[in-house]
Symmetry: none
Subunit: 239 residues, 4 copies
DNA sequence: AATGAATGAGGGTTCATTCAT
DNA sequence: AATGAATGAACCCTCATTCAT
């Protein structure tokens, strides 16, 4: 039943390579990353990479495929049969789902896609089908439900989805570009690119702000529009 | 006073090269763009490029420097001594400035920065100093003024700046990645990456939404929060 | 006395590897053949090949050694003590020996040698010593005997050996190059590289032609100069 | 009118590269020749090769195309309207044409084709169309003419063409394989692979031998069957 | 003995950069 | 100033060979 160390390593290789590739592709871009670097970061030699992926380009697609299929779209549908106000449901969807994404390696995939779609148009179709459309549909449904119940104003649903979602995506990108350049500290060579705004704080604030703009019945100023959101498991440390 | 056509062409060279470089770097990424391609698109030979820029990397920095110094930050300060409500001022800042940016080639610079900062950290400092901080300070001031006057709720200023601004940046990136892959039309091989949401419609809707969340005195539902914004010169055709 | 199947397979390994190697080296050339392909065709794994031969180059030498020592030179000496006319003897030597060679895998060895001697000069010596010189000596003797008996004209013996032998070698090469590319049939994509001349027909015709040029007493036109040659076991099907 | 040295070099490059490639491909085989070696022998750097030929494989095809179109088939047709006996015509065709080929670099092309057709089947079609078929047709016509006039016996034309031609091809191959390995001299490390038979002597002897076998009216023994052939321009020195 | 995962030197090809014209 | 031929370092990928299992 026990596998040899050799076998165990072999089984883990593809994942190790994908992880290394994701890190490097996100950091330096696909074209600027050398296949040998990916191999080295995964702890293997150049040749070994090619035992598992037939080319650097296939490796890229595998990286994207893995994270789009599972991590990003995941967890969306299972909230769909939620009960309670549309605001609460929306909060769950937005805040919780996003907290899972920012802190996970999947956050880098957004940068990868933004960066590489034009060079690899196959990726576009995949991304739209797996992420953009399901996400838009899901959040759109919640908005429409809230509007139907008189909970939300009659807004342009698509535009509102964007107002909710785009800042989150943008913060993912930021995390892997400007924010990653910045060495925080008093004597950093590079000044802080942005106030070290906590992702969680920001997302709660952002959600509250947009929700207030969305509600048909404005709430009193002192009430936190997102207060219904339970304290979540905060940001697992990233590996 | 008049220069020969030859002279004129020569004077235009650096700009033509910068334009070509911006287009290509934004489309394919810095590493995946060949110096010869840039030269060819600018209508000169490979060697000529090196008469004007000592290396591909310097060309990249020149591209970014040009657009950060001038176009992106432009139009910000001149609205600063505006009179009227904070909402109106904010609307001018956000809506008008952004409409100018999104249709200009400068919109691609955001993608370029997101993509390349980690490879060229000097860019980070420059970008933060020239764009991030002034922008944040400017919008922050307007927000703080509105709060001081009781026009806005007491919000986290930095977070609110982000709520306002990040979707705009994100749409710039989108324009140069997914949106550029998509061939719109009924029988497009690639499904529309996103609803063909007009940038102007979106930004007005977004501003309205956030502004409602921001105002201390909620306005009646039928009023358009951004109604004070005059119809602007819409989108200059992109070169 | 009986060996287990396992044992039998094991004993057969070296031969199976040699056969596979011969096929592939002849088809694609030594440098263009991968060691793994050889192993795969022999039904073993890459590693196993190296249990039997220390390197690809040694495998090549073993292939050549095997066929030069045994198959090609074979059949030569045992005809040497033949009785009868020099013409009959020559016919036996040329026609029969060659028929055996052309249909055997050994025919490919000629291509291999032509192709690889310059990269592996050790092969040259071996080939000259094992094949060229014995063959030349043998046929030369028969020619000299015929000349001495007044049966043949007084020709340049070495040149005549070549006239007899070179076309045969050449047909071996042809068989493994152009002829192997050609898909015969009415609608072949590639036109027949040569008339599908039967090797046996050709060799008989060739021998007859040269023999007539060789004989001191020209024979009548209708007589077949090679008629003494008994009908041979025709061409075993190649494996 | 005078070109710059730069321009002159550029014009000569393709030919220099083809020459270098032919030498090396013939000597070591296509797969065993490194692109850089070809470039070095042509006196340029690795990169320069790729300015003229897009890949090593295209270089191979260019090498073959050049020599098949021009040197080999050339000079054949212009003898077709020859007057005199079929034997004389045949002698011209065979002896003269071949003397031109053996001593020219084109002789190596035969080895190249034998060696590489199976890896590059496009070459087969080209070779058959440009060399095999025209050659066979040409010599076949002469033979048929001789037969019709009663000058030759009624032989199998195709087989006879082969009897005449194959030894010549074979000597070309020999020249670039075994013969090239042999360092002639008393203390050669490698024994002479074959008697240093002069190509011209051999071809005259061979033609005489086959012609005698071909003639309907056998000639007296002392007459040289090929005596009509004028002393030819002997072998131009190879470049 | 047999396997096949792993290695890393090697070779094809690209491309930033130089420089003679 | 402008060109584009030439260079060679660098990168992707292959494959002969090794060795732990």
């Amino acid at each position: 039943m026990l596998q040899s160390p050799r076998q165990r390593r072999k089984d883990a290789r593809p994942q190790e390579l994908l992880d290394a590739a994701l890190d490097l592709f996100v950091e330096k871009g696909f074209a600027a990353t050398r296949a040998e670097e990916v191999a080295a970061r995964a702890g293997v030699s150049k040749g070994t990479l090619y035992l598992y992926y037939p080319s650097k380009e296939e490796l890229l697609k595998a990286v994207i495929r893995q994270h789009l299929g599972s991590e990003i779209a995941a967890g969306a549908e299972d909230v769909a049969r939620h009960e309670g106000s549309a605001a609460q449901l929306l909060s769950e969807l937005i805040v919780q789902w996003w907290l899972a994404v920012v802190e996970s390696p999947a956050s880098g995939v957004f940068k990868l896609i933004i960066t590489e779609v034009r060079n690899f148009p196959e990726i576009a179709e995949f991304y739209v089908r797996e992420v953009v459309e399901p996400g838009q549909r899901l959040i759109g449904q919640v908005l429409r439900r809230g509007i139907a119940h008189g909970e939300f104003r009659e807004v342009d649903v698509d535009a509102t989805v964007f107002s909710l979602v785009l800042p989150m995506i943008m913060l993912c990108l930021h995390k892997h570009s400007l924010a990653a350049c910045t060495i925080t500290g008093p004597d950093a060579p590079c000044p802080p690119a942005a106030p070290p705004l906590e992702p969680e704080n920001f997302i709660r604030h952002h959600f509250d702000l947009v929700l207030r703009g969305l509600l048909a019945q404005p709430r009193a100023d002192h009430a936190d529009a997102a207060s219904a959101v339970p304290a979540t498991r905060t940001s697992r440390a990233q590996s």
